[in-house]
């Protein structure tokens, strides 16, 4: 192209700038600057906060922009809060930790929940069904956690369950419970199972050595839930036979990657531990400005998007049409068998034992 077209381009550009100036001057201009709330967010919610539809509602209806830095749920409690308006961790434990350090926050609210689940491959599911450890009710798979823990503690080889192609003993891979929330919650769940009820500060003492032994056997653990999930999907049945993660991870993956999910859906299965625990995504307002974030996130439309696009359970979930919406078979309509997480004091002891 010659210099002539360059000049034509420049003239068009100037004309457009002129037209745009007139357009803005005549009142088509932007809304007033939105208020920016700054805070720390657990990595599993970044997909939601980056969702343009969500950002649009926050901006349009509430005049808010959420500016975040990624941080672990417990790490963010002790991080520098200077210039931050909110924390958005993934567990109630983080709120208890916060209260212990700083007292009650300005305001806090559970925005949505997702249960801790097990992910595995079909041949492994079938092996557990044969053992009677996994049962199917209303098309949903449930794992008898006490039975599973017994197999893990006994050191049962996968080969003993009829899976000779898998090397080693039965295990559930998790993220590092000291570094990451999903692993941390799974440790809490196991403590409940070992205690035969919700573990408290006293009862947990007796089961710490067993908990340590279970985690020690896992060796190296990933630090991030999303990395563990990515490896689970990509490295095949042999590498990570069964992992613990959030229910929303698979639902979000299926919505965002429908073609990949189409290839995987005959192999990957979702099992609900009995009992499970809720990962509660709780918004903690650090100051008055931060409180505005609560009302905005509880917006009906955002609550709907959180479920439909990102798999977080809210008021709108559990309508029965969910399985079709996500294309994820064996999705539970409601999560009924849930235990509370051990108290913060008990979790502190668990973390110390696993560190």
């Amino acid at each position: 192209m010659g210099s002539k077209s360059k000049w034509i381009g420049l003239i068009i550009l100037l004309a457009v700038i002129g037209a745009a100036a007139v357009y803005l001057f005549l009142g088509g201009g932007p809304q007033p600057e939105p208020a920016v709330l700054r805070g720390y967010v657990g990595g599993e919610k970044i997909g939601l906060l980056e969702d343009e539809a969500v950002q649009d509602i926050l901006d349009r209806n509430y005049g808010l922009t959420l500016d975040y830095a990624k941080a672990g749920s417990l790490d963010m409690v002790t991080a520098d809060h200077e210039g931050r308006n909110f924390l958005f961790p993934s567990s109630q434990t983080a709120l208890e930790y916060y209260q212990q350090l700083y007292g009650a926050p300005d305001r806090s609210q559970i925005v949505f929940n997702t249960p801790i689940v097990l992910y595995t491959h079909r041949p492994i599911l079938e092996a557990f069904q044969k053992e009677g450890l996994v049962t199917e009710r209303d098309g949903v798979y449930y794992m008898d956690m006490a039975g599973l823990v017994a197999e893990i503690e006994a050191g049962t080889a996968w080969a003993d369950l009829g899976l000779p192609e898998l090397y080693g003993t039965v295990a559930v891979n998790t993220t590092d419970p000291v570094r990451s929330n999903s692993g941390n919650m799974f440790a809490g769940l196991l403590a409940n199972v070992l205690c035969g009820g919700v573990a408290d500060e006293d009862s947990v003492e007796a089961v710490l050595p067993r908990l340590q032994a279970i985690f020690e056997k896992l060796g190296y653990m990933e630090a991030s839930s999303s990395d563990l999930f990515d490896q689970f999907l990509k490295t095949g049945m042999g590498a990570k036979p069964m992992i613990a993660g959030y229910e929303n991870q698979l639902l979000e993956f299926a919505v965002e990657n429908p073609e990949d999910w189409e290839q995987l859906k005959d192999d990957i299965v979702l099992i609900y531990p009995t009992p499970t625990v809720w990962s509660s995504h709780i918004y903690i307002a650090l100051d008055e400005a931060g409180e505005a974030g609560i009302d905005a996130l509880m917006d009906e439309e955002i609550q709907r998007l959180a479920w439909e696009n990102h798999g977080f359970r809210t008021e709108v979930s559990g309508t029965g049409a969910d399985e079709d919406h996500f294309g994820v078979p064996h999705l539970a309509a409601e999560i009924t068998q849930v235990a509370a997480m051990p108290s913060y004091a008990a979790m502190e002891k668990i973390i110390a034992a696993l560190s």
Partner: protein, 539 residues
């Protein structure tokens, strides 16, 4: 309305830019060199991604080149061992935009400050044994399941020698070593700190590692070394065994048979992650690159290089790459051993470096000619302090072991002196005082120094050591390779002469030496200390 305005703007901008924008060059400007293998793809793009990567990704350069050319994103690949990558991530600031180690193990161990994000596995490849077809048949390893113990008995009986990378520098060597430990410990659920104290373990693993013919700091170079001929087997990634076989077959030579030890397998998952230094433009370029690498078309191209990609395994059309007659099992369920926790892993690696590995016998030929005077000499002394002063060496897992031998030959136009240090104690540290004391003066003759080194090596039973000559020079050498070549051929042992190029050294002279001795040249012109560390990682 908004959209229409935007499209007219884009059109107008496009007209301006195409008319006066820079003309893309036809070929990439390579700032790399044959020595380190680092490579830059520069087509004049606005953004540059600096990627710290494992050497096995060198085989994907064609794919990266296409991306750089099509998208106008410059890419600089810096190849390092996995442990180096881990340490870089642990540093205060990370001078890279992305990391791409062989395994996520190193990423997780290094990224304790959570500065890496958007991590996704690009491909999968297991670490396997590649054994000459006829030898594999003779050992009864073809068409059957093989355990690590089976391999160990072949090694212990002297029927199998093999090459592997250094466990403390490279992921493939580390994976194999951990597999050996599991087998020798009787396959426990996981290796613990206590189990490393098991009586007899030290003797057994030491004996096993004495079967290592040649060590290397990088997996890709190990493959290149293997292709120079004369070796029976190597531990390496499945994809590099495939690529070695393609080369061997093209030459009409015997190919390797892949053995997957069922109780000692590990997987490299090739995670590519973004280092967040707060540059939105780079972040977008990174995400584009990642999306490109994970697109169906490119994933298939990557699969053609012998790496496992996608969720559905190796496609039928690529069966000609994953060949059954080479022992490659694309449909095998890869069921790896559990890697120990980071803490225990580091303990394993320290033991490897200081006790278990075959002791190294290293001769340092250091150029003290007149041109080294000043900063040249200072940098060389500083580099040697990183290796000889054990406190420094420990940081890079380059410590000396109890039985190793280090010999210093300072040279100019002739070898000035010979200083020998045995073990990892005071003798080694006093070797450093010699390094400090030598003056820079006189001419340069690398061949005389190298020939003297061979004479020194004649005093040792080389089967007990991993021998190497490390030669640093900054100028064109007097003499010629002929006399050295005669001496080397008469000497008749496989001793590499690694050179470190410095100042105005003549690369052709050094390449000649490397070729003759199955070694390689390291470029110390920009980072002499880094070059010394790398070369030390090769033995």
């Amino acid at each position: 309305m908004k959209r229409a305005v935007l499209s007219v703007c884009i059109l107008a901008l496009a007209l301006i830019l195409t008319a006066c924008g820079p003309t893309p060059s036809d070929s990439a400007v390579s700032t790399g060199d044959s020595a380190s293998g680092d490579h830059a793809f520069d087509y004049g793009g606005d953004v540059t991604l600096r990627i710290l990567s494992g050497s096995e990704n060198q085989e994907l350069e064609g794919i990266l080149d296409d991306f750089a050319r099509e998208r106008g994103v410059n890419i600089e690949m810096d190849y390092r061992g996995s442990l180096d990558i881990m340490r870089t991530l642990q540093g205060e600031s990370i001078d890279y935009d992305a990391v791409w180690p062989a395994s996520s193990l190193w990423l997780t161990a290094g990224d304790t400050q959570y500065r890496v994000k958007h991590t996704q596995s690009i491909s999968i490849t297991p670490v396997v044994f590649g054994i000459r077809q006829s030898l594999a048949e003779e050992l009864g390893f073809v068409g059957t399941e093989v355990s690590v113990s089976d391999l160990l008995s072949a090694i212990q009986s002297g029927k199998l020698n093999f090459c592997m990378t250094s466990a403390t520098q490279s992921n493939s060597g580390c994976s194999a070593y951990i597999g050996f430990l599991y087998a020798l410990l009787g396959n426990p659920d996981v290796i613990t700190s206590e189990s490393l104290q098991t009586p007899g373990l030290s003797e057994q693993i030491t004996q096993l590692l004495s079967g290592v013919d040649r060590s290397s700091g990088s997996s890709d170079w190990l493959k290149d070394l293997f292709l120079t001929g004369g070796y029976d087997a190597m531990v390496n990634y499945e994809c590099l065994i495939i690529s070695a076989n393609q080369e061997l077959e093209a030459r009409g030579e015997e190919t390797l048979y892949a053995v997957y030890p069922y109780d000692g397998l590990s997987i490299a998952d090739s995670p590519l992650g973004y280092v967040d230094n707060g540059d939105a433009e780079k972040e977008q370029a990174f995400l584009d690159l990642q999306e490109y690498l994970l697109s169906d078309e490119v994933q298939n191209e990557i699969q053609r290089t012998g790496r496992r990609t996608g969720y559905e395994g190796v496609s039928a059309e690529n069966a000609d790459v994953f060949r059954a007659d080479w022992g490659i099992q694309p449909d095998r369920v890869l069921s790896p051993i559990r890697m120990p926790s980071t803490e225990v892993l580091m303990e394993c690696l320290n033991l490897y470096q200081t006790e278990f590995r075959k002791p190294s016998l290293t001769i340092y030929c250091l150029d003290y000619s007149g041109s080294m005077e000043g900063t040249g000499r200072e940098q060389m002394v500083e580099a040697m302090s990183q290796i000889l002063i054990q406190e420094n060496a420990e940081k890079n897992l380059l410590q000396a072991s109890e039985h190793e031998v280090n010999i210093l030959i300072p040279f100019e136009g002739y070898p000035r002196d010979i200083y020998t240090a045995v073990g990892n104690g005071s003798e080694l540290e006093s070797l450093y005082t010699k390094v400090e004391a030598e003056e820079a003066t006189g001419g340069t003759d690398i061949y005389a120094a190298a020939t003297e080194s061979l004479r020194q090596l004649g005093n040792y039973d080389l089967s007990q050591y991993t021998p190497a000559i490390i030669l640093l020079t900054d100028g064109v050498s007097d003499g010629s390779i002929d006399a050295f070549q005669t001496a080397y051929e008469a000497f008749g042992a496989d001793v590499p002469v690694f050179s470190i190029m410095f100042g105005s050294a003549d690369p052709t002279q050094l390449e000649e030496l490397a070729e003759l001795t199955h070694a390689r040249v390291f470029d110390g012109r920009e980072d002499l200390i880094g070059a010394f560390r790398s070369v030390k990682g090769y033995n």
